[in-house]
Subunit: 199 residues, 2 copies
DNA sequence: TGATGAGTATATTCAGACGTATACTTAATG
DNA sequence: CATTAAGTATACGTCTGAATATACTCATCA
């Protein structure tokens, strides 16, 4: 059970398949985020960031598209897990999302600032988004003046959560707990925007 | 002064330089918006949309980049004009922006959903954005608990205006006048999110 | 110790798309 | 009518980057 007797292994060049795969996904997330999405990133960038030859990327993923999908799917899965760790989607999800965004800002940006705008990949992201919209819609329908405005509000509130977190990252991530509260208050503003009348 | 005596000219194939240039910019705006930004759009798409050969694009613009810049600059100029038609930037700007977005949704989407994420072109858009942020910042600083949160709020409010208008386009553009009011109320929610305390 | 498989190194193929060159057509205008 | 300039048609050069092929190195482990 001690196949690695050395005390401080410098950095093992040979990883087992699964480990290397994860490492590549980590590096690819950084590379894709830095360059700004699928097209502007080339496989040499990813290979360099992974500390590995371009060839080996093909031993783990069929194509650049396949790799990108794997990156996005893993990120979406993790975000979904973070948002539903306390049960269903709801107010508490904001805390989970914000914490996850803080842990992996590259993945967060990649999902919502790049993949969301890429025709071939938006579907890989929209699962999460649609779940958020669906969770918000009933609440909006309760207060909104019409179905049409309720749909508008549910979409905008979802976007607001995402962009509020993004802006928080950009602002230097002050006061994590307070941030959750402020994001929720911003969302509350969307509610106030679709109630029938303001006398 | 009557060089075109025909009653109903079908469609004049030869336009004067300036007219053709404008027509190409119109078509290019549609083509770039439809394909989703600079990279995924090729010049054949633009040529087809313009009803013109690819060759002639080069008689009006030095390069694809030059053409794209011209499209973005014109759009940004028009948006700025729409937002400041009533003087300085302020609450009334929302009405102007919303009307312009309604008139030219392709240009609006191109600016804020595509060019804003493209490394080589974001600067061509950020002029407008930065002006909005700058206009909002003093107001935020008056109410916000700290400088950092004021900056966060100014950025988020700007994004909210843009995304609220985008969501309004997606929702089928109901009630233009009401829409302006609702967008402003959503922005008001951002103010409420950064005031010092909520007893 | 010998087979396995992770990783390297280098060369090559292939496709898409920007950009250029060239020869031809035809409307507009003095 | 003759010149000019807008536009067409087609082919070509070139570069980037994805994907494949092949031969080699060397840990690891049964």
């Amino acid at each position: 059970m001690s196949s690695n007797p050395e005390g401080t292994e410098a950095r093992p060049r040979r990883l087992r398949r699964q480990e290397r795969r994860e490492q590549i996904l980590d590096a690819a997330t950084r590379a894709f985020a830095k360059a700004g999405g699928f097209t502007p990133t080339n496989l040499d960038d990813v290979a360099a960031e992974s500390g590995v030859t371009r060839m080996i990327l093909y031993r783990h993923f069929d194509s650049k598209t396949d790799l990108y999908r794997a990156v996005l799917d893993r990120a979406a899965l993790r975000l979904h897990a973070a948002a539903t760790s306390g049960g269903e989607l709801g107010d508490h999800s904001v805390a989970g999302m914000l914490r996850w965004a803080s842990d992996d800002p590259d993945a967060f940006r990649l999902l919502f600032h790049h993949a969301a705008r890429e025709a071939d990949f938006r579907d890989d992201v929209d699962g999460v988004r649609e779940a958020m919209v669906a969770a918000l819609l009933p609440h909006m329908e309760k207060v909104a003046v019409s179905e049409q405005w309720a749909a508008w509000a549910a979409n905008l509130a979802t976007t607001t959560v995402i962009e509020a977190i993004m802006a928080w990252l950009d602002a230097g991530r002050p006061d994590e707990d307070e941030a959750v509260d402020r994001v929720l208050r911003a969302v509350d503003g969307i509610y106030q925007a679709v109630v029938p009348a303001t006398p």
